[in-house]
Amino acid sequence: MKNENLYKYILGIADNSLILGQRLGELTGHGPSLETDIACTNISLDLFGQVRSYYQYAAKIAGDNRTEDDIAMLRKEREYVNVLLVEQPNTDFAYTMARQFLFDVYHFLFLTELQKSKDLTLSAIANKSIKEVSYHLRFSTDWIKRLGDGTEVSHQKMQEAIDGLWTYTDELFHQTEADIAMVSDGIGVDVTKLKEAYYNKVNAVLEESTLQIPESKWFQKGGKKGIHTEHLGYLLSDLQYMQRAYPNMEW
């Protein structure tokens, strides 16, 4: 492939949205209330919509017979390069919202920069997506505050969720070789430069929500290289079931 780095770079962005979209989609009919159920699945729909734009572009760059659906559905676990954060399960509603918030803050900062990409397709997708993501961020921020600064039980559950997911935040700012190549071409975003703004924003919201900022300095990594937690395999078996059982099916 001629533009292999660009192809990998696009997958690095899109896989996060695909996997998080799938996680949120699992809540269809299972949200804690009708309103939050609809909200989570609408956010999922936004993410899937964004993913389609990215994968369509990636398929074009691959230049073979690959389609957006092949990229989404037919890769093996080790070929997905999403961060570990987004594949974590919907343990409870506090976890679901904490995961969303910790990703949304990053996603918003990332897309803000991606709008300046020299690659016009990527900057256009970013320009479109950021409008949607600003709604996601407002929604998840609101829930961090409501649960954090809520009842004793909701506070405790939200604190546990933040503590449990904190270890996955640092990976957002790791660079792959494709990332570094794309940054030097003026196409990619230098994520290392987003780290400070990210923790400033996250910490400010946690403080306002009366939550403790975790002190642990030990962080998990691997997703960006295809090394995942045990949760991804189960998620993929669900996501890919129809295409695996009935290859090339359409409806």
Partner: protein
């Protein structure tokens, strides 16, 4: 400010005005402001549309409906989805806003007012049933991603509010 430049052949306007959003049948795609370009080249029409929301399932249907409407008028057509400049609710025409209100969907407020009703509990959205502004947010997301759910505390009517996208 993003550019709102449009290039639509006058002859095609009445045809495109017959096509509506399948989820909001009263709103033509022209009034929704999704058509950027529609030009005739050798009896074939090239149409460019901008998606409202990335994941909006209506966009595929809208593309098919445009093709069908142009076919009836004797044109082959090619639809292209363009992302930049991104669609904004500012592109909904005054006639489109009126159609939304008549249909029971409150039209988008300004970006600032939108935040204050969705996050700060301000009562600014006008009830589509009785016109009162004594309304409250029920859910930030409604029946589709583009809408939020509201209820009027004067007449008790629940209704959708089309969120501001800027």
């Amino acid at each position: 400010m993003t550019t709102t430049e449009q290039n639509i052949d006058q002859i095609l306007i009445p045809i495109l005005e017959q096509v509506s959003d399948p989820e909001i049948p009263v709103l033509s795609i022209m009034d929704m402001g999704v058509v950027r370009t529609a030009v005739i080249e050798n009896n074939s029409v090239k149409v460019q549309i901008t998606p409202t929301y990335s994941g909006c399932p209506a966009m595929d249907v809208i593309g098919d409906d445009i093709k069908a409407a142009l076919k009836v008028a004797g044109y082959n057509s090619e639809i292209e989805l363009i992302l930049a400049p991104a669609w904004t609710t500012d592109w909904i025409t005054p006639r489109g806003r009126k159609a939304l209100e008549d249909y029971g969907i409150a039209a988008p407020l300004s970006a600032e007012a939108d935040i204050s009703v969705l996050l700060e509990g301000k009562r600014l959205v006008k009830c589509t049933n009785c016109g009162s502004k004594n309304t409250r947010l029920v859910s930030q997301f409604g029946s589709t991603a583009c809408k939020a759910q509201f209820q009027c505390d004067d007449c008790q009517e629940p209704f959708d509010y089309f969120k501001c996208l800027k």
